[in-house]
Amino acid sequence: MIRRVGEHGLLVETGALEISHRLDALLRDRAPEGVVEVVPGPETVLVVAPGANQDRLRTALGSLLAGARDAAAEPGGGPEGAAVVTVPVVYDGADLDAVAELAGLTAEEVVARHTGRELVVGWLGFAPGFAYLIGLDPDLHVPRLDTPRTSVPAGSVAVAGPYSAVYPSASPGGWRLLGHTSLRVWDTGAVPPSLFRPGTRVRFERA
């Protein structure tokens, strides 16, 4: 279903993150005329196109969505084309022991589980460059802090619920800190400014 969002927006319901990413990639590859924003979410892609003929755009989005679904259904249709970013982490976070206790693991086992899987950027939000990384080991699904910290340093590597993240810049935050990375995931002087974009595959490794 494609829903109307005001005069200039259309919200495509993909129903699945992988299809959102495929549709996003198709739209960036050959953007229909007039499109200024494409915002993938876990089950949707928002397309904002002030200059476009909405009926024509709706038709185009319908066929692109069908293409994204077909590609996802193909055998081996994983995100093999997507970029992979390796994030070196010093596991010295203030909450490492607390996460271990919540998970019933040792700190070493927490590190092993955090580095043991490839994650993927679901979407970005909360702050510029803040990527919600999906695919975290279920043992590391821990609740957020009851009281968020007023300041979390840039580069902090954290977990909360089913997600992991790297804080792109210093900000308040309630996620549990496992460590930090010297990799700059966000740089307003770079093009693009974010190392992460929806669909980027991410692997953490011990620095």
Binding site: V38, P50, S169
Partner: protein, 284 residues
């Protein structure tokens, strides 16, 4: 160079914002009442997207170290200390002159354009202060120095007056959706029934409203999805928020309707305590 002597309650540099980066978590930002910034720029011969100063509820004092053509639009505030100064007209501020913006008669946000534009360093293609993420220049404070851009290549000023904007009724036209089906039957009629009142918590992120509660029909959380300016988002309290320029690029509360682009300047000029009505009808 313009020196900020007093910024008033809140003042920032704004242009037309950052486009095409919402998928990286970057809000659009830009002038809350973009129509007024565009007009101010036209009056001084700037491109419409040049950076100007967005002054919230007047109260600002600016010292001009060099002479400049200036125009003030948006919420009409009394202007003092500069001969021929007035809203909706280009006027010359001499070197050493001080321009004072008083409290607006109505509305909330006034826009000052200076010929050449405010030439602070752009961040991600824009000179706008984003109050949500902190991108762009710091909000103005006493002592902030604002460079003025080159005027050499600009066309001559050939408009001497814009029609006074006039106060527009606090009516916001909306298109239903995208998530009106998350609400109890009749919720749109509730939204468009009795007026809402603008809350003190309103800012550049959104206009928070108090009024008839919008009741949800569905339990559970909506997965995070892209949001547009003008979205009428409804948190669990049932009290709607109209998203303005600095709204988050994605959100998790259902959007019952979206304000028409032409009425975003009306939303941006609402003051705390003002009444506002929604309607799904086109202009009367």
């Amino acid at each position: 160079m313009i020196e900020v002597l007093v910024p008033g309650p809140y003042a920032t540099v704004q242009d037309l914002g950052r486009r095409g980066l919402a998928h990286l978590g970057v809000p659009g930002s830009g002038a809350a009442d973009a129509e007024s910034l565009r007009l101010a720029n036209r009056l001084v011969g700037n491109p419409e997207g040049a950076a100007g100063i967005e002054v919230t509820f007047g109260g600002a004092r600016l010292a001009f170290r060099s002479g400049a053509w200036v125009a003030v639009t948006g919420a009409p505030c009394p202007l003092a200390a500069v001969p021929r100064a007035g809203t909706g007209v280009p006027f010359w501020v001499p070197a050493g002159g001080e321009l004072r913006l008083g409290t607006p008669a109505w509305g909330l946000r006034s826009y000052l354009a200076v010929r050449g534009g405010v030439a602070v360093e752009p961040v991600l293609g824009s000179r706008s202060t984003d109050s949500l993420s902190g991108l762009g220049p710091e909000p103005l404070r006493a002592g902030t120095l604002l460079p003025v851009g080159d005027t050499g290549e600009l066309p001559p000023i050939h408009v001497d007056q814009a029609p006074p904007p006039g106060r527009r009724a606090g009516v916001l036209r909306v298109l239903p959706g995208p998530r009106d089906d998350w609400f109890a039957p009749g919720a749109l009629e509730v939204l468009c029934g009795r007026p809402y009142m603008v809350s003190q918590d309103s800012n550049r992120v959104g206009v928070r409203l108090h009024g008839p509660e919008l009741v949800r029909a569905r339990e559970g959380e909506l997965p995070s999805e892209g949001m547009v300016t003008g979205a009428v988002q409804v948190p669990p309290s049932g009290q709607p928020i109209v998203f303005l320029a600095d709204h988050p690029p994605t959100g998790g509360y259902p959007v019952i309707a979206v304000v028409l682009t032409a009425d975003l300047p009306v939303a941006a000029q609402l003051r705390p305590g003002d009444p506002v009505r929604f309607t799904t009808r086109p202009h009367p």
